[in-house]
């Protein structure tokens, strides 16, 4: 494709057409005081000097020796085939092509991604992906408001604090009221969202209830009952889930979820200090016209051959402009492709093994700490692969262990003042028995 910059004559014609004398005049509204005039850039460097400088900066990243940190992002084995597939030049772009039907391979990969997400969630239609789990959840909340024509949402306080923060941000623009349902965090409590507490805020003015499964503390929420409470007032249940857990837990589509969202990072995407990740969203076919983002459909071409298209584009911003289902989303094609390659590589049995091993090692971690008299479980409810443990002087000891290269999970007091001296610990199939022993030993030494 030829790229021909505008000539001076082109500039003069365009400026003439809009009645502006010079390009500088286009910036007249920006006060001189706030204009950037000088940039504090270092002197030019040779390539090897740049490499040296970047390596020096990169070396400052703290890579823990042992980590029990989860809290929304999880360390799993990424089979080598995932990187091989996403590294292919045909795929190595993170963006939707602008002439999509020309790129049948990209559309096919997205179609397969959508099919896998539907299978995993038990839902009827999945989008081509979103920025991350939090933005997918926020889009789902807005979608529920459009579907129900209501402007209030309820969200459990056991939903990831950052997901709640993003939902609040998304709701602040359109003026959607966010009501929080307090989880049972009392001493001896379940750590779950009480169905009665949810029911008490659900009225016929509430568009949806957002609940997380497993919840932020790893607990298994009563999703079917929460769905029932939401449906009783004509509200939707938005289930924000962890994808590997779907290999062992009931599919959200089977317990009444209307919209399912997830952070897709555990599916073959490295932790990478927080991103890029990928948001998953799935819904019922009846709601498809209010779904945000891109959708790939399968069809037949003029010769009857199978082909893929971007479908239902009338929901999207390039056609619907300000009335689009969303003007603040795109898909994460490369990360979605990684998830597709991952799910294809591990298969249903492999994903189940990942979930079961993660559960087993998390239980091993909790038991080892309890048996050493170092910690006790904070909540009573069944949990998946993450567990909240009461540890005396948690914040101090967490910092001391971090200095030794051991991340003892997440300090819950940061987000929940009532959960002092509580660490949220996650283990996966990559957590070795030796790592668990070293956590116990290091905690023992900081008593």
């Amino acid at each position: 494709m030829a790229y021909t910059p505008h000539t001076d004559a082109d500039h003069a014609r365009m400026l003439g057409a809009i009645g502006v004398a010079s390009i500088e005049d286009l910036f007249a509204d920006i006060p001189p005081a706030v204009r950037a005039t000088r940039f504090a850039l270092p002197a030019p460097m040779a390539e090897q000097e740049v490499r040296g400088e970047l390596s020096r900066i990169a070396a400052r990243n703290a890579v823990p020796r042992v980590s029990f940190l989860g809290a929304g992002a999880y360390r799993h084995l990424v089979p080598a085939v995932v990187e091989e597939v996403i590294g292919r030049s045909e795929f190595a772009t993170a963006y939707t092509p602008y002439q999509p039907e020309v790129s049948q391979g990209t559309l096919q990969s997205i179609y397969e991604f959508q099919s896998l997400i539907c299978e995993l969630t038990g839902m009827e239609v999945a989008s081509a992906s979103h920025y991350d789990g939090a933005t997918a959840a926020a889009e789902a909340a807005l979608m529920a408001c459009r579907l129900t024509r209501r402007d209030r949402i309820a969200i459990s306080s056991a939903v990831h604090p950052q997901v709640r923060a993003v939902i609040r941000t998304y709701c602040s623009g359109p003026g959607i009221e966010v009501i929080e349902v307090p989880a049972d965090l009392a001493e001896g409590g379940s750590g779950l969202t009480p169905v009665e507490a949810a029911a008490s805020v659900l009225t016929d003015e509430v568009a949806c209830l957002v609940a997380q499964q497993p919840n932020f503390f790893g607990g298994i929420e009563p999703m079917a009952e929460l769905a029932e409470a939401a449906h009783a007032v004509g509200a939707q249940l938005v289930a924000h889930v962890e994808p590997t857990s779907l290999a062992v837990l009931a599919a959200p589509g089977d317990h009444g979820a209307d919209i399912v969202t997830a952070e897709g990072q555990p599916l073959g995407i490295p932790l990478s200090y927080g991103g890029p990740y990928v948001g998953l969203m799935a819904a019922r076919m009846a709601s498809v016209r209010q779904m945000p983002g891109r959708l790939v459909g399968a069809t037949r071409d003029a010769q009857g051959r199978r082909g893929y298209v971007l479908t239902l584009q009338a929901r999207e911003q390039h056609i619907r402009r300000e009335k689009a289902a969303s003007n603040i989303c795109t898909n994460q094609a490369l990360c979605a492709l990684a998830a597709t390659a991952y799910l294809s590589a591990v298969g249903p049995q492999g994903l189940r093994e990942v979930a079961e091993l993660s559960m087993a090692q998390t239980r091993h971690t909790a038991t080892a700490l309890e048996e050493a008299g170092l910690a006790e479980r904070r909540f009573g409810a069944p949990y998946f692969a993450e567990v909240a443990m009461r540890v005396p002087h948690a914040a101090r000891r967490h910092a001391e262990l971090a200095a030794q290269g051991i991340v003892a999970g997440y300090v819950l007091e940061r987000d929940y003042p009532e959960l002092g001296d509580t660490l949220l610990l996650a283990a996966t199939e990559l957590t070795s028995d030796e790592e668990i022993a070293s956590l116990v030993e290091a905690l023992e030494a900081t008593r």
């Binding site: 016209r289 009338a314 056609i319 619907r320 009335k323």
Partner: protein
């Protein structure tokens, strides 16, 4: 040929008045311009429409357009057949392709709409 017994809006909706009720649809001109219609978002029965405000969406293979209420009133019926057969709006826009029926709240509004002659002039027929 534009039915003489209808009133028309500049947004290409038609109104057929029958007592205190009015049936609303889009004109053949609008349907032809849109092309093959594939989906109609209908208002809910009981909803209140305001004249010239949007009350639904019509989606064709090439465009999406808002539906603008030609008269104010409460929706008493919608054409459920359009959910499965939106193409009725193309094949019979002034008949089977009707969209909704409303109880007119301000008959005076009808005077501000176009007759067949004026609408025909608008669309250059």
């Amino acid at each position: 040929m534009l039915p003489e017994d209808l009133r028309y809006s500049k947004e290409h909706e038609w109104v057929r008045v029958d007592g205190d009720q009015a049936t609303i649809g889009i004109t053949k001109f609008a349907a032809d311009e849109l092309g093959d219609i594939v989906f109609v978002e209908l208002p809910e029965v009981g909803a209140t429409l305001s004249q010239f405000a949007t009350f639904g969406v019509v989606e064709s293979v090439k465009a999406v357009s808002d539906l603008y209420a030609p008269v104010s009133g409460e929706v008493v019926a919608v054409n459920d057949a359009l959910r499965d057969s939106p193409e009725l709006m193309n094949s019979d826009p002034f008949g089977e392709g009707w969209i909704a029926r409303v109880r007119v709240s301000d008959p005076g509004e009808l005077g501000g709409l176009l007759d067949a002659g004026a609408y025909g002039e608008l669309i250059g027929s």
